[in-house]
């Protein structure tokens, strides 16, 4: 893979990979670091595969990076449970109170449900694409999505 090819790949996928790690971790700094590390690995390994295959691979590498990071932490289970998911909203009509409540509801979702939901709503991926990137079946994607929306509704009642 040449430098121009790599730059084009970086421009296409860096933001979505960084967001994906953020969906799981709720930590922007960590997301930035792990996304960088993911692309550094891709550059060093000089993969020669198709663009679509490479996209799957990028998600797999990012996923593995995240899991390795979590395993290194002593209280990794608590780390994933006690996250502070803090996103912005580009609509002034949504009150501060609703924003905070929804952010709290997103934080309380488990990371698998949150990832699937936000990959669909923010990145615009189809269930099939999400299944491929996360290496799970379409049914599992649908199940996680349904549970996520149900939990969010219960939280913001």
């Amino acid at each position: 893979m040449g430098s121009e090819e790599f730059k084009s790949l970086y421009d296409k996928y860096f933001d979505s990979i960084r967001r994906y790690i953020y969906y799981r971790s709720g930590d922007k700094e960590l997301s930035n670091d792990l996304a960088q590390e993911t692309f550094m690995q891709i550059w060093k390994k000089k993969f020669k595969i198709t663009d679509e295959g490479l996209k799957n691979l990028i998600y797999k590498i990012a996923n593995q990076m995240f899991l390795n990071f979590i395993k290194q932490k002593k209280n990794h289970e608590n780390l994933l449970k006690n996250i502070n998911f803090n996103v912005e909203y580009n609509n002034d009509q949504i009150s501060e109170e609703r924003r905070n409540k929804f952010n709290l509801a997103l934080s309380k979702l488990n990371e698998k449900q949150r990832s699937v939901l936000l990959m669909k709503k923010i990145d615009g991926y189809t269930n099939k694409e999400i299944g491929v990137y996360l290496n799970i079946s379409i049914k599992a994607v649908e199940k996680r999505m349904t549970q996520a929306i149900k939990n969010l509704k219960n939280q913001i009642k």
Partner: protein
């Protein structure tokens, strides 16, 4: 009604989510990737240049070896061909050419024929 309302609210909130990071992807590229990628690319180019040099040296070396080999082989072949013929010629010259000086031109053909026959019989 309540379910529809909460559905609508969840959708509205999800549709308006915006996730921003301290650094844009271009800033991250300039800070972390630009130098590494450029450095690796220039290394790769210089490696290619070295490989080219190595190949040209190898080709020149092989050509020199081939020329030396051909010269040596040619020399050996010349020696093998020349030496035995030269020996025979000296013997032939001593006996035949001196005798042929005293033979007239008209009888030269007959002399050579008889000489060749004698040589064949003696061998």
């Amino acid at each position: 009604m309540t379910i529809n309302k909460s559905n609508h609210e969840v959708d509205k909130l999800l549709d308006n989510i915006q996730i921003s990071f301290d650094k844009s992807k271009d800033e991250v590229w300039n800070e972390s990737f630009n130098e590494v990628v450029e450095s690796d690319t220039s290394k790769k180019e210089s490696k290619t240049y070295n490989i080219f040099n190595f190949n040209s040296k190898l080709i020149i070396g092989m050509a020199a070896l081939l020329i030396c080999g051909l010269l040596i082989y040619n020399n050996i072949l010349d020696n093998e061909i020349k030496n035995p013929v030269q020996d025979n010629n000296i013997e032939f010259s001593d006996s035949a050419i001196v005798e042929s000086l005293f033979i007239e031109d008209s009888e030269l053909d007959d002399y050579l024929n008889s000489y060749v026959i004698n040589e064949l019989v003696n061998d």
